[in-house]
């Protein structure tokens, strides 16, 4: 996989979540994503950015335009040094929440992306990577 463009942003506040949505939207438009695919990746980004703020105590996101075997896509990597997730499998379930939300953040983001991976270590932090191809 080749990285064509990359930029990093901090994810600390509710305003950052909005700014990330806009940055992801812009990148999706540049890459020629159709409206539905733009909406899906932006929505997934919004869920994960909120998780980073609420559960991870803030962190950063790397927004990348990537290319693999001639297809182009967006890869988003959200990282924090928060408390980590003790049971990732449980956290991935629809409706599981510790934050008082709907519990759709992680599971929803996975459904809205093509590739999804999560690594989390208790006491060290969490990294979630998603890719959506054009």
């Amino acid at each position: 996989m080749t990285v064509l463009l990359s930029d990093q942003r901090t994810v600390q506040s509710a305003e950052d979540v909005v700014a990330i949505r806009q940055a992801v939207r812009q990148r999706a438009v540049e890459l020629g994503f159709n409206l539905v695919d733009q909406t899906k990746i932006v929505t997934a980004a919004s869920e994960l950015a909120r998780n980073t703020v609420q559960h991870g105590g803030g962190g950063r996101v790397t927004i990348e335009a990537v290319e693999d075997f001639g297809r182009r896509g967006i890869r988003l990597t959200f990282e924090d040094e928060g408390p980590g997730i003790p049971n990732v499998e449980l956290a991935m379930k629809d409706g599981f929440t510790t934050g008082g939300g709907l519990g759709l953040g992680l599971s929803g983001a996975r459904r809205l992306s093509n590739d999804f991976s999560i690594e989390s270590t208790v006491g060290k932090g969490t990294r979630v990577t998603i890719t959506r191809w054009r």
């Binding site: 509710a14 305003e15 979540v17 909005v18 949505r21 806009q22 939207r25 409206l35 539905v36 733009q38 909406t39 899906k40 932006v42 929505t43 919004s46 869920e47 909120r50 629809d94 939300g101 709907l102 759709l104 953040g105 599971s107 929803g108 459904r111 809205l112």
Partner: protein, 123 residues
């Protein structure tokens, strides 16, 4: 502080969300709207989301909560103008907006509100 305006039209309240809302702004709208329903003795609330480019789980929950709270306060809520791409994404995200009445546009939303309110008074 930044706020989403709430317009009063007779016994209805009209909210048009035209900005990309951050979470606190969404919570403020929820609080303002419930207060206005009581103050204005509103029978119906119409929320126009045609300008919203996404509805994520937070905004989805806000809409569902507003619908539930207004019901408790004896008012009907109709959400109008959802974009097709938003609807597709919302369902894939896992949100079905249970309990939220929707209509395609403001005109149909107003018709639905009037109809619902008429039904209630004839009961």
């Amino acid at each position: 502080m930044e706020r989403i305006p709430i317009l009063k039209m007779g016994e209805y309240l009209l909210v048009t969300i035209q900005v990309d809302m951050h979470d606190r702004l969404a919570m403020t709208l929820q609080d303002d709207l419930t207060a206005r329903i009581v103050e204005a003795r509103a029978k119906g609330v119409l929320i126009d989301i045609s300008a919203l480019e996404i509805v994520d789980s937070f905004i989805g929950r806000m809409l569902a909560d507003i619908a539930a709270m207004s019901r408790v306060l004896d008012a009907e809520t109709v959400v109008v103008g959802m974009r097709p791409a938003v609807a597709i994404t919302l369902v894939e995200l896992g949100l079905s907006l249970t309990g939220v009445r929707t209509a395609l546009n403001v005109e149909r939303g107003m018709d639905l509100l009037r109809e619902r309110i008429r039904e209630r008074f004839s009961e």
